[in-house]
Amino acid sequence: MSERKVRVAAGQGFWGDWLEAPVRQVRGGEIDYLMLDYLAEVTMSIMQKQKGRDPRMGYARDFPPLMERILPDIAEKGIRVTSNAGGVNPRGCAEAVLEAARRQGLAGRIRVGLVTGDDILDRLDDLLARGHELRDMDTGRPLSDIRDKVLSANAYIGMAPIVEALKGGADVVVTGRVTDTGLTLGPLVHEFGWSPEDWDRIAAGTVAGHIIECGAQCSGGNLLRDWRSVKGMANPGFPIVEASADGTFVVTKHARTGGVVSVPSVTEQLVYEMGDPNSYITPDGTADFTSIRLEQAGRDRVRVSGITGGPRTPMLKVSIAYFYGYKAVGTLVYSWPDAYDKATAADKILRQRLADLGLEFEQILTEYVGANATHGPLAGPPDPEAPEVQLRIGVRAREKAPVERFTREIAPLVLTGPPSVTGFAGGRPAVEEIVAYWPALIDRREIEPHIKVEILTA
């Protein structure tokens, strides 16, 4: 009996991922859906800033040119695309895709499903006035504390509008803050006709989405176990889920690609960014990661089964970004002999100068790259024979002026500090604006009625 499979291929794990991946997913073998996840916690605020400078921006700018490359392929093969590339301007993103389709001579042949309603920036005051405090989930502070600094506010929404867009005939679904997992779950619910309250299958599709949402991170990329044995990563095979109607699925990748799909590679991705494994909460339901069974089912094929889940919660998570202050990080490299001691001496001098100038910072953090920057005291005593050590010193303040002044205090150390110093060719470090993240919860009934799906034709 040949059982029907639906193949969802991941093409991007974040905004900035390998640009060739989606092209190879489309051309390297059979797939039904191409799923492109662009959004991380801070991505929305970056996009909001870009939109502030140019109202046509605010989405993943890589996406329309990518679509222009692959639209002829997906039109010919009937592949459909789901993506949250829309960021804080899904309409602008959708229109750019439509223009790309017209340039490719596909006018009338490409339909774009546009999902809106996750963006609540313009509704914040109304929501606050009606008693939604949008408290920070970590600190408990009410949003009113930082209301005037808010840059973006988006509810994480689930797969329902994607299903609706696919039902409406969309070839490319463009959304804002749809969850990473919803981009995979949506196609499966649409294809198999799963009930949105079939919690085990919803959980299964969610786990499938979680496994492939970071692209090649489940297929050999960033794989710690036996990392030397991972071959062919110049052409990494991005993951593909082959799903069955019963909720089981196989994770695999195209033939003639590098990397590996194994129980260890999938397990490492499953535990990535994990909280309480008994209850992985999404807008669509909760998944129990302790129910997941993995088995190797052939070369570069891992079968996933046994997944159970539970109902969705009444609340949706809201991702709010707000302006916090300024930071800068400066670096200098000190060479053997006594590289570490020279770097610590330079740090001492620099800190004294900052204090003498009366500069005030929320924090000054010094790290010694090559000695202890990533593992701290666990790295043990520094090696006196180290060929070089990088002094890396960062400051953070609410005001710009002290951070700005700090950036001018790095280079002078070259002629006024310890010897054998180099690595300052990059010039003064940049002052960065800090956009901080404020996670909150909101009653889903405040969001769901506002979610809208439009089908636009090129």
């Binding site: 036996d226 535990v271 930071k327 924090q363 920057a373 593992h375 005593p381 956009v435």
Partner: protein, 147 residues
């Protein structure tokens, strides 16, 4: 302070322990020989998923890599530790709260998103039965350490 030169160990068994003919029943072994790991972040919390290299090592991880020992391993660097068990994946998940110096964009750390807390945990030593410790092999492939 005279710093000792750090040469990666060629075998997981400590020399001092293994050279004694009738030593203790267990020897300290770094977790890197028993597990692999991946970490990520949520706000100011880093997570470390610790995965047994072989299913038979999982009960040992459950017994030895306790919440308290992990908290002690990262002392000064984390506010509190939670542990979850995933016997289906032969894995433990640790949440290291307050580990990221404010987290996300606020943090000034190189590892602001906790990406390599995983390897920091693999430095931890746990007591391993001598018989098992003898069998633990360094991973295949060329060594990067000076021979």
């Amino acid at each position: 302070m005279p710093a000792k030169k750090r040469v990666p160990k060629r075998t997981p068994v400590k020399k001092a322990a293994s050279s004694r003919a009738a030593g203790p029943a267990t020897v300290p072994v770094q977790l890197r020989w028993l597990a692999h790991a991946r970490s990520g972040d949520k706000g100011d919390t880093a997570n470390v998923g610790l995965i047994a290299l072989e299913p038979e090592y999982y009960p040992l991880l459950v017994k030895e890599v306790t919440r308290q020992r992990v908290a002690r391993h990262f002392r000064g660097g984390v506010a509190s530790v939670e542990r979850f068990e995933l016997p289906n994946l032969n894995a433990l998940n640790f949440l290291l709260h307050g580990a990221l110096d404010g987290g996300g964009t606020l943090s000034l750390k190189t590892d602001a998103q906790g990406k390599v807390y995983s390897t920091a945990l693999l430095r931890m030593e746990v007591p391993v039965p001598r018989v098992l410790a003898r069998r633990l092999q360094p991973p295949r492939g060329p060594r990067t350490s000076p021979a």
